[in-house]
Amino acid sequence: MAKNLYIQHYCRIKNNKVYLNGDLIFEENSEDIKSFLKSVYQFLDPKYSKFFKMDALSKLAFLSAEIILKDINTENKNIGIILSNNASSLDTDRKHQDSINDKENYYPSPAVFVYTLPNIGIGEISIRHQLKSENGFFVFEKYNANFHHNYENILIQNNKSEAVLGGWVNIDEDSYEAFLYLISENGTIEHTEQNLKQLYTN
């Protein structure tokens, strides 16, 4: 019998504001992305110093997941992770490219190179919450509610995952946005393409 699935929690981070389930939970007019993400970290206080080694995209993914999974015990839970974006890891790619362009001052950083892939952020979430489930990262022009709804639905209906963390996490130059949500059998907002689209655009 088909399971009834819901958008149990959803989080939006953009324009210096953080929303959980539609409510504004934090805002700060920071001068740049790095400062803003640090402020959000301090607000959430996850006591996870490895955060500071991450690139901006991974930090954004990590914080969004932190907000969603805050009151959920993830130990031994099979929570799939399906994320997408438009710019891949471009923000970090540029930093790596800069470090190898200067012939006079040629010292590429391994810590930067490690993040020149968009799915490392999924790795960070997995390490933090010990999630060994199925995970994928897709590159689309914009958030594709149809694709996400399908994939998230199939994962749970076919018992590949008991819940799915899905969404869009993007950083390009100075702009950033995150739309992350937890799909499970608990909640009140039905998991439909229409609802995902609506929550994303609001």
Binding site: S49, F52, K53, Y107, P108, S109, P110, A111, V114
Partner: protein
């Protein structure tokens, strides 16, 4: 040597993004990897780049790093002996 040790502590904190660690919290003989500061394999590689960039010491085998980066004390001694910058 004391200046070098302080310099190393400051560099490590900045280079490895150890935001919540103060210079005075790192003792000279504290273990940097494993239980001590909890640095990992990528941090070790960053330190190898630092050895080259700041002190002109080039390591070819990442395993060499393990011995050299045991503690600030050991690092400082090694750098003093082998630095070319």
């Amino acid at each position: 040597m004391e200046d070098l040790k302080l310099e190393l502590k400051n560099n490590i904190i900045e280079l490895l993004n150890l935001e919540d660690v103060n210079v005075d919290e790192i003792k000279d003989d504290d273990s940097l990897f494993g239980d001590g500061l909890g640095l990992d394999s990528i941090d070790a590689l960053e330190l190898i780049v630092m050895l080259d960039k700041d002190y002109g010491i080039r390591l070819s085998d990442p395993k060499e790093g393990k011995k050299i980066f045991e503690s600030i004390e050991v690092m400082a001694a090694y750098i003093s002996e082998h630095r070319t910058k």
